[in-house]
Symmetry: C2
Subunit: 315 residues, 2 copies
């Protein structure tokens, strides 16, 4: 299979004006798992497609994903990503806005090399994916200031923010390779449910992860009252006393260590971890079930392994 | 011809999440001359095209243009546009960044409805246009901090920042209508040179416009040492005394009224206005000459009138 890291490194960002292109190269050079282009390439291999045909879309997906990170970091005022200063810190905010805009355009430039007969449909799906991400980001922001957020709201938000990009990566890869409608739907649903399971696992690891392997501080979501599946599940308890105690802790903005310990203890008492793991396992099972509808070859096996790896990950 | 204002008003921005879509509707409702979609429609009419075929691209060009205004206002910290608070003032900066991103994606959504056989080429040109705008914006920022800017640098910058969007609007409109390669080149060059003439006229009006009709304060560019064609032309003078006096005034950051009067007097003494008007007229003539290569119909006449109107404008 094409070495996606090498293909990304081969993109040339040395052109002028430097203030526009250097931050794009810097952002893409940060690495990452390259999961989205890899999914597009696997979907193509699964359907016996020519990997060169899917490469432009695969690269477009990765550039788009990194564009969202660049602008998200501005909006979140995040100073560090993957151990390096973010673009708006290393350069300035205006540079981050404008080079992010150009990065989004660069994604569409890469996409324009999709085989012409496939381009109209791929462009529409790419746009739907991009729209989903922006809507998900907006809902995420809205939910921070919203007192009532249901578990359904939350699932809708993470579907848009995380899952649709994985789902469309697979669907676009499969489509370019000539997949049938039923196969495209299976690929899409696999991506969607893997994404949901991944995000729920993320929420669980933030509380129950091993500090040695997790990579960031445990309990970060608890400190800032982030409306994760764990918190929303706990808030649905019918145990009035526990709920009152939880609400009490949500109003605490200092004493972080004490707050993390107390909220974790509440989660344990209410069986929140188990409940969330059950939801995660349901989505993993739904994802894996899609694979039965696809050709049983080594690419399909990779998707099976990926599902298991994502779920059993420690960081 | 299609009523482009009505088509823009018909775009629906009432969907959720409101925080993402309301600022897009707000930005587009500000009005403006709708010059870019109109150029695309005129080019199509000129070549006998079906205006419904060109409408998606025409709308995409207008939405894209308004996206650039939205993000430019954030970067410039502009508080008012067309008499109304800008998006980052009415909402906040993060809303302006994210809804701007979505607006760029919306432009590509509109573009995806271009007739399928024309889409691959139109998408490539649209991307080149968008890239030109971002590069032009970056050069504009770079030039502010750069001591040496030549007239060539300046012309390259305004070509990217202003002209390519007009040029590609015409070229894309003509292409969808089935124009020949020579006709496409004539349309492109017309748009390019009209854009240059327009921008130079803008620079001249800032100093020599009638305060009653100009709409903004006269001398704004002089106050902030903006590297306009007038200033760059004046700086190229071989009259050492005038140049020294000009450089002296560039270091003055208060006494605006006095500065405007003195720099204008220097411009008058050096014949800067005439020199810039000559450059403008050359570009207008080049633009008008392109029209001889195109069918002589009422649409072509509209382009001729537009050229004359742009150049003789007072605001």
């Amino acid at each position: 299979m094409i070495d996606i890291n090498r293909e990304i490194e081969a993109l040339d960002w040395s052109r002028a004006p430097k203030g526009l292109y250097e931050p794009i190269g810097y952002t893409l050079a940060a690495g990452g798992k390259r999961i989205r282009p890899t999914l597009a390439l696997i979907a193509s291999a699964l359907l016996g497609g020519n990997e060169k045909d899917v490469l432009p879309a695969a690269l477009a997906l990765e550039v788009f994903h990194n564009f969202t990170l660049l602008h998200d970091d501005v909006m979140d005022k995040a100073e560090v990503r993957r151990g390096r200063p973010t673009v708006h810190v290393k350069w300035d905010e205006n540079t981050a806005i404008l080079s992010g805009d150009q990065m989004l355009i660069e994604a569409y430039k890469l996409l324009s090399d999709v085989p012409a007969d496939k381009l109209p449909q791929v462009l529409k799906w790419f746009n739907e994916m991009a729209t989903g991400i922006c809507e998900g980001q907006q809902y995420d922001v809205d939910f921070e200031h919203q007192s009532q957020v249901t578990i359904d709201d939350y699932m809708m938000m993470i579907e848009k923010k995380t899952s649709v990009l994985l789902a469309y990566a697979l669907k676009i890869g499969g489509y370019i390779a000539g997949a049938s409608t039923a196969q495209l739907e299976a690929l899409y649903q696999y991506g969607l449910h893997i994404g949901l399971a991944f995000q729920i696992q993320d929420d669980i690891l933030d509380v129950y992860g091993d500090p040695k392997t997790f990579g960031k501080a445990i309990g970060g979501d608890i400190c800032c009252n982030k409306k994760t599946l764990l918190l929303l599940t706990a808030l649905e308890t019918e145990d009035a006393e526990s709920k009152a105690e939880l609400l009490q802790w949500l109003s605490v903005t200092d004493r972080n260590e004490e707050k993390i310990a107390a909220v974790t203890a509440l989660y344990n008492r209410l069986g929140v971890r188990k409940a969330c793991e059950a939801v995660m396992e349901t989505h993993t099972a739904t994802a894996l079930a899609q694979l039965d509808k696809l050709p049983q070859n080594s690419a399909c096996e990779k998707l099976r392994e990926l599902a298991e790896k994502l779920i059993n990950r420690k960081s």
